[in-house]
Subunit: 124 residues, 2 copies
């Protein structure tokens, strides 16, 4: 299996543009799907792995590590050595408008999309 | 030089989730930077290649082709065989709230970001 690229969090900054810097953190096909599932109340590795998109476990591991490294997600070990739980930090929860914009665009512009995984909508 | 992956436009759909489907179209570190530059009024290959992020020309070629293939961008050949110009279609311009959400998040949450490439803000 090919080695995964380094977490995006450690990539050098490409410019001072806020769009570019945000994409450096979350601009790939998988990271925001994990964030979506966190917003939907999922907390465990197995929950994210069960998403309909079929994320590979090595990619999921890497994306979770990057999300923790960038302070968007907090990892909590369960008492007694059980499975870890993952939660959005305040910084992570601030991504809600980004997810809402992506979801609204997809629902309006891509045929056949359905909001089955509900990202809680604030103030709507 | 390794071969680029196929344009995201031709990837099979991973699920019916609007976030996943939108990320299938624009979820990478480069596509939305080209869209940003199109919003800023840039139209030519050389303009996009000059962005401060330093996009490689083979990646730029591929992203522009994918944007045209998915109907987000229109390519217009210049009369007399000059350079082509690229323009956002109506569907492409509808990505404005996505770009605005990414830009606002970066400005608020990533130190040192500056909105030098201005994405026109509607209704603000």
């Amino acid at each position: 299996m090919p080695k995964q690229p380094a977490p995006v969090a450690s990539s050098p900054r490409r410019s001072c543009c806020p769009v570019a810097c945000t994409l450096d953190l979350i601009g790939d096909r998988w990271t925001l799907l994990v964030v979506r599932d966190l917003f939907a109340g999922r907390t465990r590795f197995a929950d994210f792995a069960r998403a309909p998109e079929g994320i590979a476990s090595n990619i999921l591991t890497q994306r979770l590590e990057a999300l923790v490294a960038t302070g968007l997600v907090e990892r909590r070990a369960e008492a007694g050595g059980g499975h870890a739980h993952y939660h959005l930090t305040e910084r992570g929860r601030s991504l809600r408008p980004v997810l809402e914009a992506l979801s609204a665009w997809g629902l309006e512009h891509i045929d056949g999309t359905e909001a089955r995984v509900q990202v809680p909508q604030e103030g709507r």
